[in-house]
Symmetry: C2
Subunit: 201 residues, 2 copies
């Protein structure tokens, strides 16, 4: 945004536009984001967006492509239920994602009815559920029955819900919960969902 090395530097300007757009898309959704505001954030003329991204939809797709998925990041895939719970705690803690302001999954969820984005969004959530299953020791989809997949998706839904609730309300203490505070309850949930207490004969 305030990059000094951006004097008639196309790549840097394009990048700045992308970041400004991503920030607004995450906070305000597709409809709520105006191209004029994005251009103003960067201090550049509206028409440049057309040059670099063709249209608002092009800008949105580029922003989506440049945003990490739900359980994706660089943390690597958690190998067991405990590290999965820890990864969730960190992803859902208050200070996480300082570069986005909100949880990046919100951008996907606030998208317009575009077909390609819909597919991307569904895939991202399914991927997350599969990662949960992997952490539970199931390497392939067919390895798990529908009930287990449903349980994994419920865990993903919990993550989505936390992100949504935090961004939409000031609900305390959830709003400011740290990873440390989330850790204990989330461990309980993960364990209960993926390793039910009394289910084996």
């Amino acid at each position: 945004m305030t990059d000094v090395t951006r004097r008639r530097n196309a790549a840097a300007t394009r990048q700045a536009l992308l970041e400004a757009a991503r920030d607004r898309f995450i906070r305000l959704g597709y409809e709520g984001t105006t191209l004029r505001d994005v251009a103003a954030d960067v201090g550049v003329n509206l028409a440049l967006i057309k040059r670099y991204f063709s249209s608002k939809e092009g800008l949105f797709k580029a922003a989506v492509a440049a945003t990490p998925r739900f359980l994706g990041r660089d943390d690597g895939i958690p190998g067991d239920v405990h590290s999965l719970a820890d990864a969730l705690s960190h992803q859902l803690s208050a200070g996480a994602w300082p570069e986005f302001g909100e949880h990046p999954v919100l951008m996907l969820l606030r998208a317009a009815g575009d077909e390609r984005v819909d597919a991307l969004r569904g895939q991202a959530l399914l991927d997350a559920a599969l990662q949960v299953l992997a952490a539970a020791g199931h390497s392939s989809v067919d390895d798990a029955d529908d009930d287990l997949l449903l349980r994994a998706e419920l865990l993903v839904a919990l993550g989505v819900g936390v992100a949504v609730v935090r961004s939409a309300t000031g609900l305390q203490p959830l709003r400011d919960a740290t990873a440390g505070q989330l850790s204990s309850p989330l461990r309980d949930v993960v364990t209960a969902l993926i390793e039910p207490p009394t289910n084996a004969p």
Copy 2:
């Protein structure tokens, strides 16, 4: 909408407008809903909305006021953790809310940045969390420590997440999950959150 008894009947027309608006607000959010579409749904002129609700914001607030809260409905407040889990299973099952199409909580979450709606939304979610606490045997807020409140809010977030994920994606098997299928996992989650397995000394 297709009420035959609606020939120059102000009350019925007003009600039809309210229902059409509610449906669109829930599915498409505040920004995504246009007054022209709402009027067209009812088969009435756009200007009538101004007459009955003053403005789009007035229409939205009326729709919010006429929509049940999260754990509110008429089911009554669940008295223990098991009936709480069952109530959740039913509220979050695929066929629930036939009169809205989606879970009504989505209307609150997709609201514009209006101050009063923000407050309403926060209050609705807090109420839901308090109901969860009540089901856990805590009659007042002060009765519970922050950790327990956080756990209750996580359960509410799970509900919100399920509603959001279902409305935004075709994620299976969550999308079509019945109350029966949700029951077992949700019981595990509720128990784990509200009655942690190994916490007492």
